[in-house]
């Protein structure tokens, strides 16, 4: 029977010849990941259950990125719990503040997540690694603990849903706009429990950073996972970083998809997701006068070097509008350093923006830029639920980096074209 790329990966990790959608399987995980928040909870579960050791000290990773550098005493305690556990279990990969980055940017950078792999993470945006042609999904702390102990987890094989992107991208349109547009078309539960498969000439030409952005938001459509077919671009990305073997899989001919969506990207302009859902998306030209108080650029969705370069192109020679706070969140220390070398940080500083250490910070209302009542922010993050970045009566709009940067200059939501670009 023909299988999709997702099914092949699941079958291989379950030790089965083949799997069908709906089937329950037990699969071995190549990597189990948690952050400071979910990790602390999981470690408590681990102890409560009386477990002794993790199944493999090289395959369990904790990335303290949410409330770090520690936002308060309770957060510091959570990190202490994680740190002690790492030491006790002698885990081989751990990243302390100074080396730590935002998990979904860091792990691919470190070559810990690879094509053909099966990864679970105690963070909903773990689906990001599907960009590399891996099966990767977010789970709760208890599932993560189970995987930490046994090295495997049960799955119900998701139904496949295919998205075919054709045409040529318009200026200033990238992965973020494609995924926002897609979610606006199908809704925040439009891919509920399904495995999204991103295909078509437009995504075959999409560079890795755009693929990571798209896969990152698969969960925002309710999907179990989102996956790209690995190709030359993938090879180029993983070749020198891979910390282990990797494998390229591809969907067989003749597979039957539950749904197929065809999207002509040449009709897509930069997108802005209005609160309170990522699906509440409009084209940039449909945005009226919406003044902003804050613009935050980076994060796991758009915090890679190419994203920062895109923002720098817009901010170069310009100033952040008076009264607007613009904060940049590079995804990892490496990216931060490269941005420094390339002169991007100087561009940001000259523009009057602030550069944060790599952290999830304000994305989930943690720290480093929380909103007061009545404030409005534009963000390159992946969620804009009510109260997401602070006061329940604050608003978050989602966009790609060039739009977030242009908005910082204009003092209202607008695109790079309004700045002559």
């Amino acid at each position: 029977m023909p299988m999709t790329i997702t099914e092949k990966i699941l079958a291989e990790h379950a030790g089965l010849e083949e799997v069908r959608p709906g089937q329950l399987i037990n699969a071995k995980v190549d990597l189990a990941m948690a952050n400071d928040i979910t990790g602390a909870l999981a470690i408590e579960e681990f102890r409560k259950a009386g477990a002794k050791k993790v199944f493999d000290r090289t395959k369990v990773v904790f990335v303290p990125d949410h409330f770090t550098p520690n936002k308060d005493i309770k957060s510091a305690e959570q990190c202490r719990i994680v740190r002690e556990f790492v030491r006790e279990q002698n885990l081989s990969e751990y990243y302390e503040v100074g080396q730590v980055g935002i998990e979904h940017v860091l792990l691919p950078e470190k070559g810990l997540v690879l094509p053909g792999g099966l990864i679970v993470g105690a963070d909903s945006h773990t689906c990001t690694y599907g960009a590399l042609g891996a099966f990767s999904t977010g789970v709760g702390s208890t599932d993560f603990t189970a995987a930490m102990i046994t090295g495997e987890l049960w799955f119900k094989v998701p139904e496949p849903i295919k998205f075919v992107y054709t045409g040529t991208l318009n200026p200033w349109v990238g992965g973020k706009d494609l995924i926002l547009y897609t979610i606006s078309q199908i809704g925040v539960d439009g891919a509920l429990y399904k495995a999204m498969e991103f295909r078509g000439e437009a995504v075959e030409k999409l560079p890795m950073h755009g693929r990571f952005t798209m896969a990152n938001m698969a969960i925002e459509a309710g999907a179990k996972s989102g996956i790209f077919h690995p190709d030359d671009l993938t090879e180029e990305y993983v070749r020198h970083r891979a910390k282990g073997p990797y494998q390229f899989h591809a969907t067989d001919q003749g597979v039957e998809y539950t749904e197929i969506h065809e999207i002509d990207v040449s009709k897509i302009e930069p997108q802005v997701a209005f609160p309170p859902l990522p699906s509440n998306t409009r084209g940039i030209h449909e945005v009226d006068n919406l003044p902003i108080d804050q613009s935050v650029i980076g994060f796991c969705t758009n915090g890679r070097l190419e994203d920062l370069r895109d923002a720098a192109v817009v901010l170069k020679g310009r100033k952040v509008s008076k009264g607007v706070r613009c904060i940049i969140f590079p995804g990892t220390p490496s990216i931060y350093r490269e941005a420094l070398k390339e002169g991007l940080l100087e561009i940001f500083l000259d523009a009057g923006a602030v550069i944060s250490p790599p952290t999830c910070g304000p994305c989930l209302g943690g720290h480093m830029g929380i909103l007061a009542k009545g404030e409005r922010a534009i963000a390159t993050t992946n969620r804009n639920f009510t109260g997401r970045m602070g006061h329940p009566e604050s608003e978050v709009y989602l966009s790609n980096p060039p739009v977030a940067a242009a908005s910082a200059v204009l003092g209202r939501i607008g695109g790079p074209e309004e700045l002559g670009l």
Binding site: K319, L419, G420
Partner: protein, 359 residues
């Protein structure tokens, strides 16, 4: 970190038309929320007056510290050509700058404005089809610079020689500029060479042919230069981007400009790798009308637009200026004497600024 521009007005009308280009740039800065750092330097005769040097070190240093050069025009009147102030000025300044900054890609547009069709040397029906050509000229290589170059022998056997030589690297880089330009325009590229006679040109064609494979979206044709010259006067509307080496493009770009009848309106760009470039009007310093306030600043303003596009990637801002110029010419209300009007240099600058304001 504002956009840094080295402004070199030069001689003759250069100073007056540059003033208008700066006016337009300032309006662009306001409209698009950006900052230009405009620093003036001396070049040509003006530089010689102060430094006894057509291209003083001070000017070179300014250019090195800038992101782009906005160049006016240099040169004196025909009568004064032999004076030290003007002698060899071109070589000493323009060529010097091109070599210093490796400005190997010269972009020369030839555009016929329908409202000015009467000035064109084309037959009416040809003019009506329109002319909008971009000639991409390799500027730092070829026969103008190839070695050996010299004279030897005596009497009847005395001989002089130049060398036409191009490396793969030189051809590749200019071809890429041409293909990229075609891609951003009407997606047609004509490679002009003499591949039936010259070894260099056989090689040239080979290398450009290979690059064409990477641009399947661009319609690619090849012409011998003699045919190209004929086609330019026979049916110029067929061309979008034309690519040629230094010598051939030098000739064809003047021919193309001449058939539009509006050489005074045409800008040009000379680009290096990366984003650095020098932008100047195609025309000269017109010393006979210098200081009279009647010089046409449009070529200088469009050169600034080129700069916004090629050095600063401000595509929208660049298009906005070009659109404003198109409209101004089409309306025919504000024109300098060279176009049959009675307005001043400053009037034209103000009108463009006004259009940008209200766009």
């Amino acid at each position: 970190m504002a956009y840094k521009v080295a402004v070199l007005p030069g001689d003759g009308i250069g100073v007056e038309i540059m003033t208008e280009a700066i006016k337009v740039l300032k309006q662009v800065a306001t409209k698009y929320h950006l900052e230009f750092e405009l620093k003036e330097g001396l070049i040509g005769g003006a530089a010689w007056e102060k430094f006894r040097d057509h291209c003083p070190e001070e000017t070179l240093e300014l250019c090195r510290n800038s992101d782009a050069i906005l160049f006016g025009s240099i040169g004196g009147s025909v009568e004064e050509e032999h004076l030290p102030k003007w002698e060899n000025g071109n070589n000493k300044s323009l060529i010097r700058l091109r070599k210093e900054f490796d400005l190997y890609a010269n972009l020369r547009p030839a555009k016929l404005y329908p409202a000015l069709a009467s000035k064109s040397s084309l037959r009416a029906d040809l003019a009506e089809k329109g002319v909008d050509i971009l000639i991409v000229r390799e500027l730092t290589g070829g026969i103008y610079f190839g070695q050996p170059k010299g004279r030897e022998g005596s009497g009847d056997e005395e001989r002089a020689f130049d060398t036409m030589v191009y490396s793969r690297r030189e051809i590749n880089r200019i071809a890429k500029v041409a293909f990229d330009a075609a891609r951003s325009r009407r997606k047609k590229l004509a490679c002009v060479d003499k591949a039936n006679v010259l070894t260099t040109m056989v090689f040239w064609r080979e290398v450009v042919d290979a690059m064409a494979e990477s641009y399947p979206d661009v319609e690619y044709q090849k012409l011998y230069v003699d045919n190209a010259a004929m086609q330019l006067v026979r049916d110029p509307a067929q061309f979008d981007v034309m690519l040629a080496g230094n010598l051939f493009a030098d000739i064809l770009s003047d021919e193309a400009a001449a058939i539009t009848g509006s050489i005074g309106l045409l800008p040009s760009a000379s680009l290096a790798d990366g984003s650095f470039g020098m932008y100047e009007p195609s025309g000269g310093s017109a010393p006979d009308i210098a200081g009279k306030g009647i010089a046409n600043p449009i070529a200088q303003i469009l050169s600034a637009a080129f700069m916004l596009k090629y050095s600063f990637h401000l595509d929208q801002a660049s298009s906005a200026i070009e659109k404003a110029v198109d409209e101004l010419i089409a309306e025919g209300k504000v024109r300098t004497p060279d176009l049959g009007g009675s307005h001043t240099t400053s009037d034209v600058g103000d009108a463009i600024v006004e259009k940008l304001l209200t766009a």
